[in-house]
């Protein structure tokens, strides 16, 4: 379970998160929607301790992410993350990209790491690209590689930060299909997304972020199909 309790975060004078409260249970999918600069990415970075917080608490399976005694490198093994920008490791083949972390972080035997990496790559439909270098692949393929690379660590939670928004429109579908598949596998996930239809389809809960606070939260039928707040209605009218 991920518990976010009254989290505040600012960059110097700029307050980006102003008291966020959220809970994501095992097996659930949470989608975060909201305008540019509302703090969606920042929240994900705070959950896996890439960014620090100034106030509040984030618990991942009851581990306090930002406590000084927490081993954050170890904690990040529980949390897979895929970013908006494609960031495959360009000097490694597709297979090496996915097998590296299991081998060096989890200290698996090489054969075992390769086995797991292959399995995840096949799962996302890259089984025929194992020996390719990622720079030769399309954006959609690189994002699927990033998903497989994160999954190969067998994380308990997946964080997705607008993973389709840098893609050409014709490549968005294949990546969303991969996410749907993960959803069917029952993986717990938090998706920051601009794909409202997708959010409505896959999530148990949708949170609408506005200027660093959660304006509205609830099941998609409510937040997306029947929003109560004016800000939410306004946002949805703009993006739909």
């Amino acid at each position: 379970m991920i518990q976010i309790k009254n989290v505040h975060k600012s960059f110097d004078d700029l307050a980006v998160l102003k008291g966020i409260n959220l809970t994501v249970n095992k097996g659930e999918a949470l989608s975060i929607i909201g305008g540019s600069g509302s703090g969606k990415s920042t929240l994900l970075y705070c959950i896996n301790a890439i960014e620090s917080i100034q106030q509040g608490q984030i618990l991942v399976d009851d581990i306090d992410v930002h406590a000084s005694h927490t081993n954050q490198d170890k904690l990040r093994q529980k949390l897979g993350m895929v970013f908006q920008q494609w960031n495959a490791f360009p000097h490694l083949t597709v297979l090496e990209n996915a097998a590296l972390a299991p081998r060096i972080v989890k200290k698996m035997r090489k054969e075992e790491a390769i086995e797991i990496a292959k399995k995840e790559l096949i799962h996302v439909g890259l089984g025929d690209k194992l020996d390719m270098y990622p720079t030769k692949m399309s954006g959609g393929q690189q994002q699927r590689l990033a998903i497989a690379r994160a999954l190969a660590m067998r994380p308990d939670y997946m964080l997705f930060d607008e993973i389709t928004s840098a893609l050409d429109p014709e490549l968005v579908g294949e990546v969303l299909d991969t996410l749907r598949m993960l959803r069917d596998d029952g993986i717990t996930m938090i998706c920051v997304t601009h794909e409202i239809a997708f959010a409505r389809e896959v999530s148990d809960t949708v949170a609408y972020f506005h200027q660093g606070v959660i304006e509205e939260i609830g099941p998609p039928e409510q937040v997306i199909s029947n929003p109560q707040k004016q800000t939410t209605q306004h946002f949805l009218r703009k993006v739909l």
């Binding site: 960031n87 490791f89 360009p90 000097h91 972390a101 990033a146």
Partner: protein, 221 residues
């Protein structure tokens, strides 16, 4: 012009010339390895604005890049000698070369690190890699590939600068040539052969670094 070339004396001393060439290569390779080993942490310190090492790196880079090689070798040999630290000619030249290599490579590496997108660091971090693991497996391999050519040029430069060893009586190719020609007075012959040998050394070095690069760097960046 009625200079008569006498090559046979040079051929007779070929083993010593080759020995000198070997010392030249030896001292340059070693000075590069030392330079790489020191420049890597210095460049990282500079990028992270490390309070202690970053100023050291800056001063080092400035001195190395803005003073003549001759001065550096004199400082290592006569300067330190005056302070009671007596280095052999070989060690003095090695120190001077390593000093300059470190200065230039620190700047080269810094540029190399900066050219790697920040997202590579976050990606490595998000997979649970420690700082050391991220550098070791993700950042350094990409950095070295990007600065490989400037680094090769630095290597060539070190080979050529080592010829200043002649000034402190070092037995590298130039020093050895100097000694041999003074015994026989066939100055021109000896130095022509030495020049050709330098040319061959640098070409061989370029060829082998290119081959190493082919073997090492498979993906594209």
């Amino acid at each position: 012009m009625d200079y008569e070339f006498h090559w046979s004396i040079v051929w007779r001393h070929m083993p010593e010339m080759l020995q000198g060439a070997f010392v030249t290569l030896h001292v340059s390779v070693l000075s590069m390895l030392i330079g790489i080993l020191i420049a890597t942490p210095l460049a990282i310190a500079k990028l992270n604005h490390n309070k202690f090492f970053s100023p050291i790196a800056t001063v080092w880079v400035e001195i190395a890049r803005n003073t003549p090689g001759l001065f550096q070798i004199y400082m290592a040999y006569f300067g330190l000698g005056a302070l009671g630290i007596h280095l052999s000619p070989y060690v003095a030249v090695l120190c001077a070369l390593a000093f300059v290599n470190t200065g230039y490579l620190t700047e080269t590496f810094r540029g190399g690190f900066q050219s790697i997108p920040k997202t590579q660091y976050s990606a490595a971090k998000s997979l649970g890699m420690s700082r050391f693991q991220s550098y070791r497996h993700i950042i350094l391999p990409q950095m070295f590939r990007r600065i490989y050519h400037p680094m090769t040029n630095q290597f060539i430069w070190a080979i050529l600068m080592s010829s200043l060893g002649i000034l402190v009586g070092m037995n590298e190719l130039s020093g050895e040539t100097q000694r041999l020609q003074s015994l026989s007075f066939r100055t021109l012959e000896f130095f022509i052969v030495a020049a050709v040998m330098y040319f061959i050394i640098t070409k061989l070095v370029l060829l082998s670094t290119a081959l190493i690069a082919r073997k090492l760097f498979k993906g594209e960046i």
